[in-house]
Each structure stands twice: as C-alpha cells, then as structure tokens.
C-alpha cells in the first residue's frame, strides 16, 4: 500500500538556521502517527513545510501521490490536509460560528454544513453553548476544541495537530487526548505533533522522534518506548540539543 503522506529527505531553514536536516517520514491511511521531540527539534517546521507556510530548501513531500512541496498554504486544505495550528490560532474577534464557517470555506454546501455543525456539537457540546460568542473569550481548552472542530469542518483526509496539549491543564489535556483518540477510532488519519511524548505514545500507532532537525528514532509506539528513555527526551536530555547554526 502506498502511504497517504510521504516526506523524503526534507531540509528547511530559517535564514542561516538549519531547522530540518534530511528528514523522511510516512503516514498511512487510517494510521495515527506522532512526531515527537523537544522545542526546536523541527516538529513545527515539518508541519510548516507540509502546509506550504515554509518553503523547504530541498526534499519532497507527496500527498496521495502528488508533489506538494512549495505549494501555497491555501491549497493545502483543498488537497485534504487540515492543520490544527500550534497555539490554536483561533480568530479571537470572530464568533465561534464564524470560526467554524471559515473552517468550511473550501467545502461549503448548505445542507452538509448544517449536518457538520450538528456533528461538531455532538463531539464538542461546549461549542453549541458558545456558538455566538467571540472565539477570544473561550478558555484554552475550549479554543483547542474549536480549533479541532474548525479543521474537521473541511472533511480532511489527513488531520494534523500541532501541540494540542500546549498550555492546557492536565485535566483538559486528558480530555483533548481522549477526543483525539476518539477521532482516530472513527477512522481519521492523524499526524500528531507533541512535546508530551509519554502521552502521545499512549494513543498513536507509530512515532518519529526528532532531535536537532533529524529523525533520531522511528517505529511503533512500543519500539520507541523500548529504545528511548522517554523521560530524558521530555526533559531535554542528550537527544534534545538545540538546532545547529550553519553558514
């Protein structure tokens, strides 16, 4: 079976700072894959390259057999890739309703939109309560739910989540991870980027561990646990050096 998403020998930089060095990874249909690593390991840079926000220096990114490296950000969602961005990126001045409507920007059909909203209210009942409120007034956890719902409104083939637990209380983190697991059980293909390696390994099929812009380990959740001292990664051990500066 050909993978849904294939990243091959991808390198990316911010000016002179090399953030990604020759990384390769795959996500198969129906799988949940985690991209783990500390701050600066290159996780978000990988997502930025996939979504076209950052132009990679070299390498290839194929989605459903089509080359998408160097695409525009606005083309990403049309291809079936939705991102739940780091820091949630809710439109604070727009209402919950308007946030969701934008999520459906490319896929809008009146009847389907209504049905989708209903489905989102079942998954995230709080959004129905807050429907007419500005997104900026929601709590962190509620905003995270809104960000996920907004991404789901586009009916993505692959859902990418960037640090969904960032800045949330432990209880809210539990709830969000429970939700992500639920999405996976419904058949969504998910690429999960997380700093919280221990929690992520609890729900994913496979994982890649990034350090200094390179894939250090990859394998099933079990294999990663066996090979790597997860606690040391999480707290910034040897594998967690910051990215190098190249000329």
């Amino acid at each position: 079976m050909t993978p849904m998403l294939t990243v091959e020998n991808l390198s990316a930089s911010y000016g002179v700072v090399r953030a990604l060095n020759d990384i390769s990874l795959e996500v198969n249909e129906g799988e949940m894959v985690a991209l783990l690593g500390v701050n600066g390991a290159g996780k978000s840079t990988t997502l930025k390259s996939i979504t076209g926000v950052l132009r990679p220096v070299k390498g290839s990114i194929k989605f459903l057999g089509q080359e998408i490296a160097n695409g525009k950000p606005e083309a990403t969602v049309k291809r079936g890739l939705s991102l739940v961005p780091e820091g949630r990126e809710i439109f604070g001045t727009l209402t919950v309703e308007e946030n969701l409507r934008l999520g459906a920007f490319v896929s809008y059909q009146r009847d389907r939109y209504k049905a989708d909203l209903k489905e989102m209210f079942e998954l995230f009942p709080i959004l129905e309560e807050r429907f007419t409120q500005p997104g900026g007034l929601l709590s962190g956890g509620e905003q995270q739910m809104l960000a996920i719902a907004r991404a789901l409104m586009a009916h993505p083939k692959l859902l990418m989540l960037d640090e969904p637990s960032l800045g949330l209380s432990p209880a809210m983190t539990d709830q969000i991870f429970e939700l992500i697991k639920g999405l996976r059980d419904r058949g969504s293909t998910i690429l999960l980027v997380e700093q919280n390696a221990e929690r992520a390994l609890g729900i994913v099929d496979r994982a890649y561990l990034l350090a200094s812009g390179e894939v250090q380990y990859s394998g099933t959740a079990e294999e990663i646990r066996r090979q790597v001292d997860i606690a040391s990664v999480y707290f910034g051990g040897d594998d967690a050096a910051p990215c190098e500066v190249t000329q």
Binding site: T51, V53, K72, P73, E74, T76, V77, K78, L83, P85, E89, F91, G92, T93, L94, E98, R101, L102, G103, F105, V106, Y108, P134, G136, R150, A154
Partner: protein, 297 residues
C-alpha cells in the same frame, strides 16, 4: 447653546475624514501596510472627474461613476503591479513601495496632464446652500453625511454578512491561519485594495467638491488627515478609523472657531501638538484592537 451650523459642519467634515481613514485602515488591517499611495488614488479619482467632464462631457452621475472607477482601478492595479511582487519580502519593502507608487503616480500626472491645477466642473448642487432652521450650510455637507451613513451601512453588511467579509476580518486577525482555511491571500488583499480605492474615489468627489480643482499633489493633504485620524482612532479596527475621522474633524472645527484670527494659519500646528500629546497618553489610539500583530508571510 450648541450651534446647529457648527454641528452640521463638524459632522460632515468628520464624515469625510472617516471615509478617508477607513480606506487606509482596511489595507493596513490585512497587509499591515500604511499605504502612502492612498492619497494618489483620491487624486486620480479627481482627474477621473475632470476628464469625464471636459473630454467626455459626461453628465454628473457618469462623472461620479467615472471618478470612482478611476480610483478603484488605480488602487487595484497598484496592488497587482507594485505591492504583490514585494509582499513576501518585508514590511519595509512594502512601505518603500508605497512611497514609490505615490511618487510615480504624482509624476505621471505631472508629465501627462500638467503640473498646474485643473478646474473640475461640478454640478450646481455642490455650490448651493440650504437653510435648515436658520443654519445655512452647503448642500454638499448634507450629501457627505448621507453618503457616509450609506457607505458605513453597506460596508458593515459586507463585512458581517458575506463570506468575503468574513475572510477579510479573519485575515486582518491572523493572516497565515486564514490562508490555511483555504482563503486565497490574493483574494482578500485585492478585495481590500478595491474597497480602499472605492472609498478614495467617493472621498475624492467631496474633497474636490470643496475647491472644484485638482492638481498632482491633491492627494497629499487627505493622506495626512487619514493617517493621523487612523493613528488617533486606532489602527487596528475600522471602528477606530471612523471614530478617529470624526474626532479629527471635531478638533479641526473647534480650533477654527476658537483660535484668534492672527493664529488661524497655525491651526495645523495646534492640531499636531494636540495629537502628539494625546498619543503620549494613549499610544494605541482611542479604540484598542483585538487583533494580534502578524506579518504576511
């Protein structure tokens, strides 16, 4: 007692300034660019009025349409030809480009038309006055107020009720995230420039209407007014621009009637001192925006 004539004058001047500021702030919201070529859109609108009257001998309503279209087209083309290619470079590149567009348009008119002012024949309604309960005021003041109210209503309907408006509001909040929703960057930016040009064109009719003439530097004064009014009102929301426009108009009129005749030529200096003092106390302007700063990438 509040003088009715003073009130009408202030509201009409504030309306004109609000329209001017709104056009500037719409582009700033999305591109984070203070477009210093904005005054030139108004100036080109003025030449649109002039040529439609003198060359085409168009009736007044066609002059209005022609003037507005000229401003919209100039605004749209400047985005396409000048701003789009440097959009991903830096904020400074955009800013310098806006100066370049301004200088280019001023000099194009200077060479192609004339460095001297041209008289714009306007319909008699622009020079008539009307008596309302003893207050004598030019009819055009009432036209400005009516036009501004209509424009504000239509613009808020566009922003609140249409998907394009929704996308534009989202883009002025978080540009990259808006693109990730599938909203094309070019669409919202072009839309902002077209609306900005429309507002410059409408303002142009009333700006030119006061002096009935147009010259290559006609755009300088309205640009300065729009810029100061938006800074005072708050750069981060259309509401700030409108409030800033009215506050600036009020300040102008209050100074006009309170300053002694010998000091009236220093009116602008007084205005700037007041604005500077105000910004020292409240640098974010009257209306704080809920927007976060984000550069177009």
């Amino acid at each position: 007692m509040m003088n009715l004539e003073f009130m009408i004058n202030t509201i009409s001047l504030g309306s004109l300034y609000a329209l001017l500021s709104l056009g500037l702030v719409l582009v700033f919201g999305i591109l984070k660019l203070v477009n210093f070529a904005y005054g030139e859109y108004l100036m080109i609108g003025g030449y649109g009025l002039y040529f439609s009257a003198t060359v085409l001998h168009a009736p007044w309503w066609a002059m209005v349409v022609f003037g507005i279209l000229a401003a919209i087209l100039t605004s749209y083309l400047s985005e396409l030809a000048a701003f789009r290619p440097v959009r991903n470079k830096s904020a400074n590149a955009l800013l310098v480009t806006s100066f370049a567009v301004s200088i280019f348009l001023q000099n194009a008119v200077l060479i192609l038309v004339s460095p001297r002012a041209r008289a714009v024949p306007l319909p008699p309604i622009f020079s008539q006055t009307v008596n309302i309960y003893g207050a004598v005021t030019p009819v055009r003041n009432l036209l400005i107020i009516g036009t501004t109210i209509s424009v504000l209503i239509l613009l808020s309907l566009l922003m609140k009720k249409t998907v394009l408006g929704l996308a534009m509001r989202a883009a002025s909040d978080k540009f990259t995230t808006t693109r990730l929703m599938g909203v094309p960057a070019n669409l919202v930016i072009s839309a902002a420039f077209v609306i900005s040009g429309l507002l410059a064109g409408i303002s142009s009719i009333f700006w030119i209407g006061r002096s009935a003439s147009v010259d290559p530097v006609t755009g300088a004064a309205p640009l300065l007014i729009a810029f100061i009014a938006t800074v005072v009102g708050g750069m981060h929301s259309p509401a700030g621009a409108v409030v800033g426009g009215f506050v600036y108009g009020l300040l102008f009129n209050v100074l006009s009637i309170t300053l002694p005749a010998s000091m009236i030529s220093y009116r602008d200096a007084f205005m700037f001192v007041i604005v500077v003092l105000f910004l020292l106390i409240r640098p974010e302007g009257i209306i704080k925006g809920g927007y976060t700063e984000e550069r177009v990438g």
